[in-house]
């Protein structure tokens, strides 16, 4: 069986879904410059998947540009899981697409600084359900729960570090199959995620 390496570039929407497209890995140098085009319909894709009916029509082709500093390679149980890049949206003129979550966040922290002189030094925690581990009555913070998840935590932390996010801690949370990872404090929004 022949396989061709492909690379995925995506971005997180407001609901936390990571959406995008993949392309042949051999095309990466060019894709780092011009990205991949996203059909106008993507603009109206809801956070839950369906394409919404809108009175505004489908217009505004956008491009998703891989951030060259965030390449992530993931391998689980010996199987190469492919590479992906977090990316940034821009329009055909190279301008930021203003309603996307990273740009909304950038505008908010810039306005906060402009109006108050304050800068945000923030850490983030991500709580999630890991379905790769058997359901079990809650074992919050327990070593037993930590060990039952196997190498997933190690793979996750490695992926975060490859993407330029410094891991802080990883733990079993209160719900069955629920885990949590936190990132180290960082100021504002990474400049490379902006056009």
């Amino acid at each position: 069986m022949q396989r061709e390496p492909i690379i995925f570039v995506g971005t997180s929407d407001l609901s936390g879904h990571f959406r995008g497209k993949s392309f042949p890995a051999a095309d990466l140098p060019a894709r780092l410059q011009r990205g991949v085009g996203l059909a106008p319909a993507n603009i109206f894709m809801s956070a839950f998947g369906p394409i919404q009916v809108t009175p505004f029509g489908t217009q505004g082709e956008v491009f998703l540009i891989p951030d060259s500093t965030t390449r992530v390679l993931v391998s689980v149980r010996g199987e190469h899981g492919g590479a992906f890049f977090p990316g940034r949206h821009q329009d055909s003129g190279g301008r930021a697409v203003g309603f996307l979550s990273a740009h909304v966040l950038r505008r908010a922290v810039d306005r906060l600084h402009g109006e108050t002189g304050l800068r945000v030094l923030a850490t983030f925690e991500q709580e999630f359900t890991y379905t790769g581990v058997e359901a079990h009555p809650p074992q919050p913070y327990e070593l037993n729960a930590y060990r039952r998840q196997g190498i997933f935590g190690e793979v996750l932390l490695a992926a975060m570090r490859q993407a330029g996010v410094i891991p802080d801690s990883f733990l079993a949370e209160f719900g069955p199959q629920q885990f949590e990872v936190t990132s180290a404090p960082a100021l504002g929004v990474r400049p490379r995620m902006m056009p």
Partner: protein, 120 residues
């Protein structure tokens, strides 16, 4: 951070209430001028994305619950830990002193959970 120096820290626990609570707490402090304890005490609300239900602590529910319901929103009155628990510390430099050489701390802790602000 302010002027490159730490100014205040705030953490609010409670699942998806965390981001909602941080935003409300910042509005209380920055826009309404509350100190950090008053901001911890002020009523909060929580919106559940999946059920699309807006939970308001009783004082807020009494204030705007009926109006929101009349507009078609699903609202309910709640109290306690459903709106998370917050702790905060703010550093204030002594007036006239060089920044961060002389000053004092203010702290706030949430009545909705264990804990209190203590200094010595």
């Amino acid at each position: 951070m302010h002027g490159g120096e730490p100014l205040m820290t705030v953490t609010l626990m409670g699942g998806d209430m965390q981001a909602q609570g941080h935003a409300q707490w910042l509005v209380d402090v920055l826009d309404l001028g509350a100190n950090v304890q008053a901001a911890a005490d002020m009523a909060r609300f929580r919106h559940s994305q999946i059920s699309n239900v807006l939970s308001l602590e009783t004082p807020l529910y009494d204030l705007v619950g009926a109006q929101l319901a009349a507009m078609g929103h699903t609202v309910k009155s709640v109290s306690g830990e459903e709106v998370g628990g917050v702790q905060s510390i703010m550093y204030l430099a002594e007036p006239g002193s060089a920044a961060h050489t002389d000053g004092y701390y203010r702290a706030g802790s949430d009545f909705r959970k264990d804990g209190e602000a203590v200094g010595w």
